[in-house]
Structure formats: structure tokens, C-alpha cells
């Protein structure tokens, strides 16, 4: 069962964590908010993997979804709007022993923090980046976001948004050193859980775009996708997200996809960005992409005496 590894049958672990061990404050998202499903999925994954709560750090920016760390009973840092990734990079780069999860929204990641998004992808630190994409600014009460679909009426575009929406998957698949890109939906907890679990297993920056319903402001945006699963395309295959056959049956459209094929991944993302055959599953994965912390931790194992001797040499440089 969950978390019981075979060798533990001989030796009982000192600590066994239940779901409650990962539950922080009571979530104050709106009823029916897709964020709640993500929260549960992450707590389950940590419980399944028996990850000690103190080894996990949840980092977020600002927005509805960025309240995520407060609802997790782990270490958490709720930072600045757009700056979740730099803070997470600061933590992860110096503490590779920690399990870092980033909660960011479409405004936080794809608008004010877009510069960091490109570069964090290139640094490729080992962390899970969850993009809670509800296609609107929710916390600030309904303004157009970069991923808002054309025609969405918001307080900033009362006649309807007119720019074509930014597609985070297309963007990610164009960034240098991208190592993991997946998409899932909040309303299918099995697929959501399985996708995040794959992301967590991957070594490198695992980017998961979660299509996330906002019942308050964009109820209509994902309604059709939710009601009509034929608009989605389930990616399957040996290397893809594995879900229960009963769950797979929900998806009329399924396609074999090899996540090592970035060309095919880009084509899927491009088609999905048109609103038809929106792919769910792993689009791209390459575990061989270099991770930032591999380089920066090199050469740091110096003894205290050597450091002191080096320091004295440095101070004495050019001494008279």
C-alpha cells in the first residue's frame, strides 16, 4: 500500500507520515476552485513517497494559487509577485538536499515573472514547477492574463480580450535546456496525481501546466473542455503518464507519444494552443539535460583549515 516499501517489512520506519502530516492551514480558496485538487494531489505524493515534511519547501509568488505554501505543513516561502522561481532557485542551488515545489500562476509566471521563467528553465534546477493556469487574474478580481482566451470579457477588457493568448507549453518547448514539460487538468484527479508524480520523479526542472478552473471568474473557459473530453488528447505510451484503464476510457482521443521527441512535442503543443486536441500527459522529458546544481556544488568540499590558509594567502597578496 501507500508508502510501504518492501524492505520496511523487516524494519519499521521510525516515523510514518500520514496525509495529515502534510496538511497546513485550512485552504481559503473559493468552493470549487481547482487549486484544492492540486493541493490534495501534492499531499498524496509526499505521503506516498514518505517524504519527511521538513525536507520539502514550497515556494510561491503572488496570486490565488500562490497561497499554496500556507496550506502545506512543510517549509514554505510565499514571496513576491513574479519572483517565485528566483527564490526557489536560491534555495535549491544551495540546498540540493531539499525537495522544492513551486506554485505559480499564469500572471505570476507568464507575465510579471516571464523573464525568470525562461532562465529558470535554462538553469534546470531539480524542482517541480506547477503552473496553475486559470486564464485570469483571480486575486485582483478578473483582469486579463497572458493566457486569457480571445474574447474573454474582463475588467481590463470589457469588450473582450483581443490578443491571442500565450501558450505556456509552446513557450517552454522553445526555451533552452528545457527538460520536462507536461500538461494535466485539475478535474481529473487521477491524471493530475499521476502527472505530478512523474514530474516529481524527474531530475531537473519539471514544468507542469495545470488547466485549472476558476469558478468565480472563468467558469466558462474550461467548462467545455471538462464537459467534452473529446477536446482533449490523452498522451500515452511506455514513457508517458500511466493511468488506470477505467480513467483512460474517459478520453475518446488518445495518442502514442514518445516524450523524448521534442519535434513531436512542439507539434502537439501547437495544435493544442488552437483549442482543439489539447494534449494531456508528458509532452517532453530529457533527463540528460544538465542541472545547475551539478556544476555549482563542484569544488566546494574544502576543509576549514584549507579555507583559512587560502584566506591568509589572499590577504597577503601584494603585501609588503
Amino acid at each position: 500500500m501507500f508508502g510501504l516499501k518492501s524492505d520496511w517489512s523487516l524494519e519499521l520506519p521510525e516515523r510514518y507520515f500520514t496525509l495529515e502530516d502534510y496538511e497546513g492551514g485550512v485552504a481559503r480558496w473559493c468552493p470549487g476552485c481547482g487549486d484544492l485538487a492540486v493541493l490534495t494531489a501534492v499531499q498524496k505524493i509526499l505521503r506516498d513517497e514518505q517524504q519527511p515534511p521538513e525536507k520539502t519547501v514550497c515556494v510561491s509568488g503572488i496570486g490565488c494559487s500562490s497561497r499554496f505554501p500556507h496550506y502545506m505543513h512543510t517549509y514554505g516561502f510565499h514571496g513576491l509577485h513574479g519572483r517565485a522561481l528566483p527564490v526557489a532557485c536560491g534555495v535549491k542551488s544551495r540546498r540540493p538536499d531539499l525537495d522544492v515545489w513551486v506554485a505559480t500562476g499564469d500572471g505570476d509566471c507568464c507575465s510579471i515573472g516571464a523573464g525568470h521563467w525562461i532562465h529558470a528553465t535554462r538553469y534546470n534546477m531539480d524542482m517541480v514547477v506547477m503552473l496553475f493556469d486559470n486564464a485570469v487574474y483571480g486575486l485582483t478580481k478578473k483582469q486579463t492574463s497572458p493566457t486569457s482566451p480571445r474574447g474573454l470579457k474582463t475588467n481590463t477588457h470589457p469588450m473582450g480580450s483581443w490578443l491571442p493568448p500565450l501558450d505556456p507549453l509552446c513557450a517552454m518547448l522553445g526555451f533552452t535546456n528545457v527538460s520536462f514539460v507536461a500538461q494535466t487538468v485539475d478535474w481529473n484527479p487521477v491524471h493530475l496525481h499521476a502527472t505530478l508524480r512523474e514530474a516529481h520523479k524527474h531530475r531537473g526542472m519539471s514544468f507542469v501546466r495545470i488547466l485549472q478552473r476558476c469558478p468565480t471568474y472563468t467558469a466558462a473557459v474550461f467548462e467545455e473542455l471538462q464537459r467534452d473530453p473529446s477536446r482533449l488528447l490523452l498522451l500515452k505510451g511506455d514513457d508517458n503518464v500511466a493511468v488506470d484503464p477505467a480513467v483512460m476510457k474517459i478520453f475518446p482521443n488518445q495518442a502514442e507519444h514518445d516524450p523524448s521527441d521534442i519535434g513531436a512535442a512542439r507539434a502537439l503543443a501547437e495544435t493544442g494552443s488552437q483549442g482543439e486536441k489539447v494534449p494531456v500527459g508528458i509532452l517532453f522529458r530529457d533527463a540528460s539535460r544538465p542541472c545547475y546544481e551539478d556544476f555549482t556544488m563542484q569544488g566546494l568540499g574544502i576543509s576549514a583549515e584549507d579555507k583559512l590558509a587560502g584566506l591568509k594567502r589572499e590577504l597577503d597578496k601584494f603585501a609588503v
Binding site: E54, V59, H73, H78, L80, V87, R95, K307
Partner: protein, 532 residues
């Protein structure tokens, strides 16, 4: 000097000063280019100076008559002729320069030969042509305390101060930075210090740089970020985050002339109020300023000490003048420096819940709890926290309390910093009050005035927030307080509002440091006004 250089630097010469002029560059065309209507060598505008006219081009070509170099290459050696003359004038040993020439042109022996020849020719020329009426000897410095000395530039000193402080504290130094003039050298230098356990992160922008430093501090390391004025502006929101999260952070601002891009290579002290107030909300931080290149070492060390002890961001103000200026610096004994103690929070043995904002009774610092420590799981961030528990709180009374706490932490540092000790007497006619890089000029001017019998004292502040405890008393002990600054009067504004003292600003915003002479004249005028 050619005409253009003469135009810019003439004002720096004292009356009766020596001016060496390269007559080869005073042809009508050269004068036109420098916008001279008449030849300053002939129109009397250089009266009162000791003008030495030398045709550097002609003399250099003469010296190199046998050299295989072409004329252009020969002309490039003419600065060595002037340098040779100066060596004679000051009786200095030419050997270090001769060695340097050999080293620099090791692969071009004919260039090395030419430079050496011209240098020696300049020296001989000054000797035999009798162009100078006198020559000078600068005795070796004898008033410096004994010890080992090295040459040190301001940016280097900051780096060493940080490294030594981190080492003393036993914490890893993590620099997040983005290239910007004139602070980039700090990133360069610390990048080469990996063998000291220093880690640098060249971030994608200024904001990411400070955020990564904050992330590192949260993770239990010492986060540092270095920048100049425009970068400090970009970092303001994140510095506020570190104030709210109550994490140690050292921010280095090597100031340059602003606003906006301004004059990146020119010096100014105009970021004091930005450092003091440039953030949203009531957002106090510690501020220290480096006064000389060597002083930057102790200033950086002090910033680390205060940041860790009080769990606050501390801004270090340096400037372009200090950054690239050098001075002989006495290497300190490592164990003579003040202690920096890091106390990470540990799990309570009885399993009592952890309070991330439970404060130290004396410093008001909250505990530094590293992720990965069992039992200390907590969430922090930019939202207002309830004191003690650290839970998000919108409670009115709590916000007022926390705002006071954040200010009080900074205020209490005043008990932990040395009192201000003026140069000269602790009371009198005039106190020249400066901060940061003006210290050299202020000291020189004050010493000269005191020697002439005037009642003048000087004080150059390192600690700008909080001020030293005794500053108010000192200010009240002088008939006149003059505040020279390379800005529009920022310290004067703080002093006036804080102490209700009629401090008189003396400001300069020309991208250039003060000369001791202009300070001396200004103070002298004030003294005359007081005695009238």
C-alpha cells in the same frame, strides 16, 4: 597636458602649482578642437602657475632616432617621457616601472626597449635641461602603525570583508548579482573565490539576483547581492521582502552619478535616501558606508555581523571613487575582528511547537530556522505576520506592533556600534560632518585648518542607520555643522529632521569627488562668517 585636458583639469591645480605642457599639441587646430579662442600659453590665463613647456613629440622622436619603430608607434611612447620627468622631480626609483615595461611588452622587445629609452630620456632631460627650479622628496610613511600592508582597492576590500565575515560566522557566502558599473568587479572577484567556499550566481536580472540571495538566506546561507543605484531601485521590493521575512541579507550599492543611467563611471553619493527610504511601507534597514578603499573591508564585515545578529537586510554604500581607488591597507589579524555568531534554531527537546517570530529579548531577532530541520516546519513570506507564531495576520494592533518591532530592531543596533569619535575636539566652532567616500578630503582639509589654528573638527560616519548614539550630543557641541556631500544634501536632510540641528549642506554633483582644497575654502568662509 594637451588643450582639452588642460581645460578640464586646470581648476584642480593649486596656485603656484607645476603644470607640464606638451607644446606639440598646442597648434591652432588643437586649440580649436578644445574650444580655446586664444592660446592659453600666451594669453596670460596660466599666470600664477609654474608652467613647464616641453615638446614631448619632438623629444620622444629624438630619443628614438635609432629605433626600428614607425613614427606612430614612437609617438605612443611620449607618456613615458613625461613620467621620466616626474621620476626626477620626485626622486623616485624607476626600477618598478622598468620591470613593468619588460613584463607588459615581454613579447615585443622593440616596444619595451623604446619605452625604457624614452623613460630614461625624460629623466635625463629633467636633470640636465634644468627645467624645474626645485625637486621633491616624499619620505616613506612613518606615522602608520606597524603591521603587514598591502595595496587594496575598494571593491576588493568589500569582497575580502564579506569572505572573512562569512568565514568568521561559519556560514557559506552566496552572492546573487547582475553585472552593473561600477559594482561588477565584486561579482568578478567573488566568482574567483570558490576555493574559499564562496558561491556566486550571475542571475538573469537584478531582481532575480536579490531574490536568489534571499532564497539562500532562507535556506541557511548568507545571501549577498551587489549592485549600483539603478539596480538598487529594481531590488527595492525584494529588500522589503527580506525585511518582512526578517532574514539576513547584505546589499552592496556602489553608487554612481544618477538619476536613471546617469554617468555610470562617475562617482556620486546620491543613493543615501534611496537606501534609507526607497521601499514601500515602513521598511527600515541597516545602512553602513565605506569611507576609504581600505575601510570598505571593515564596513562589509560590519554589515554581515549586523545582518546576521539582527536578522535584517543591511545596505552597504560604497561609490565609484572608493571602488576604483586604492590605498595601502594594514592586513588585520583575523582573530582581532569582532565575533559573528550564527545560532540556527534547533528542535525543542520536549517537542514544543516552533515559533518562527519568537524574538530574542535583547536584539529582537527572530530565530533562523533552516529548512530540513525536523520540528521547525514553518511558512514565511511577504504577508504581515503575527508576532511569535508567524501566521499570516491582518490584525490592526499586530500590524502596528510588528511595524514598531521592525523599526526597533534597527534602532537597537545603536547599542552595538561604536560611538562617533570626531577628528579633533568634541566641541568647537565647526564640525565637518560627512559620510562615506568624502572622508579623505574632509580629513585632509580639517587637518590643514587645525594646523592653522582654527577650531574645526571632522566626523565621517560609517553607520548611517542607525546613527551612533552620541551623534546628537556632538552636533549640539559645535557652533556650526557643515555637511559636505556629493549629492543634493541628503545626509543634511536626515540630520536636520532627526536632531533639529541647523546643519548646512555643502553639495557637489559633478561626478567628481571633493578636493580637500575646495572643502578647506568653504569651511574657512564659514569660520570667517562665525567670527564676524
Amino acid at each position: 597636458m594637451n588643450p582639452a585636458a588642460l581645460k578640464v583639469h586646470l581648476k584642480d591645480l593649486k596656485p603656484n602649482g607645476i603644470l607640464i605642457v606638451n607644446t606639440a599639441k598646442f597648434r591652432p587646430n588643437d586649440l580649436r578642437k578644445a574650444h580655446y579662442d586664444s592660446n592659453p600659453l600666451e594669453d596670460g590665463s596660466l599666470d600664477g602657475l609654474r608652467v613647464i613647456e616641453v615638446d614631448l613629440e619632438e623629444r620622444t622622436r629624438e630619443a628614438l632616432a635609432d629605433s626600428p619603430l614607425d613614427t606612430r608607434a614612437k609617438d605612443r611612447c611620449k607618456n613615458m617621457f613625461a613620467l621620466g620627468m616626474l621620476y626626477w622631480l620626485f626622486h623616485r626609483d624607476m626600477q618598478p616601472t622598468l620591470d613593468d615595461i619588460r613584463k607588459k611588452f615581454a613579447k615585443k622587445s622593440e616596444v619595451a626597449d623604446a619605452n625604457e629609452k624614452v623613460l630614461r630620456a625624460g629623466h635625463t632631460y629633467a636633470d640636465v635641461a634644468g627645467i624645474f627650479q626645485t625637486s621633491y622628496r616624499v619620505p616613506p610613511a612613518t606615522d602608520l602603525p606597524p603591521g603587514r600592508y598591502r595595496q587594496l582597492m575598494g571593491n576588493q576590500a568589500l569582497c575580502l570583508g564579506l569572505v572573512v565575515a562569512a568565514r568568521r560566522a561559519g556560514v557559506q557566502l552566496v552572492l546573487g548579482s547582475y553585472p552593473i558599473t561600477p559594482a561588477s568587479d565584486i561579482l568578478h572577484q567573488l566568482s574567483s573565490y570558490k576555493h574559499h567556499g564562496v558561491v556566486t550566481f550571475q542571475a538573469e536580472d537584478e531582481i532575480a539576483a536579490v531574490c536568489a540571495a534571499i532564497g539562500a538566506s532562507y535556506a541557511g546561507k548568507l545571501g549577498v547581492t551587489s549592485t549600483s543605484g539603478p539596480g538598487l531601485a529594481l531590488k527595492s521590493e525584494a529588500i522589503g521582502l527580506a525585511v518582512m521575512a526578517e532574514l539576513p541579507l547584505v546589499v552592496i550599492d556602489v553608487q554612481r552619478a544618477g538619476p536613471s543611467t546617469g554617468m555610470p563611471t562617475k562617482t556620486e553619493q546620491a543613493d543615501l535616501l534611496q537606501a534609507m527610504f526607497g521601499r514601500n511601507g515602513e521598511c527600515p534597514v541597516g545602512i553602513v558606508a565605506a569611507r576609504t578603499p581600505g575601510d570598505a573591508f571593515e564596513t562589509a564585515y560590519e554589515a554581515v555581523r549586523l545582518a546576521i545578529k539582527y536578522m535584517v537586510p543591511v545596505i552597504v554604500l560604497s561609490d565609484g571613487y572608493i571602488a576604483n581607488g586604492a590605498e595601502p591597507w594594514r592586513i588585520p589579524a583575523l582573530d582581532s575582528l569582532r565575533e559573528i555568531e550564527v545560532r540556527y534554531a534547533a528542535q525543542s527537546p520536549d517537542g514544543a511547537p516552533f515559533f518562527p517570530y519568537l524574538r530574542d529579548a535583547k536584539t529582537l531577532a527572530r530565530p533562523w530556522a533552516r529548512p530540513g530541520t525536523p520540528g521547525l516546519v514553518h511558512r514565511i513570506g511577504g504577508l504581515e505576520k503575527a508576532d511569535g507564531s508567524g501566521n499570516v495576520s491582518y490584525d490592526a494592533k499586530n500590524h502596528a506592533h510588528m511595524t514598531r518591532m521592525r523599526a526597533e530592531k534597527i534602532a537597537r543596533m545603536a547599542d552595538d556600534i561604536p560611538p562617533a569619535r570626531p577628528l579633533g575636539d568634541i566641541s568647537g566652532d565647526v564640525l565637518v560632518l560627512g559620510w562615506g567616500g568624502t572622508a579623505g578630503a574632509i580629513t585632509a582639509a580639517t587637518l590643514r585648518l587645525r594646523k592653522a589654528g582654527y577650531s574645526v573638527s571632522a566626523l565621517s560616519l560609517r553607520h548611517l542607520n542607525p546613527f551612533p548614539r552620541n551623534l546628537g550630543v556632538l552636533l549640539g557641541s559645535f557652533r556650526r555643522v557643515i555637511v559636505p556631500e556629493l549629492n543634493g544634501g541628503q545626509l543634511a536632510m536626515l540630520i536636520r529632521s532627526r536632531y533639529l540641528v541647523d546643519a548646512r549642506p555643502f553639495t557637489k554633483v559633478e561626478g567628481q569627488p571633493f578636493t580637500s582644497q575646495e572643502l578647506e575654502e568653504h569651511v574657512l568662509a564659514a569660520l570667517e562668517e562665525l567670527s564676524a
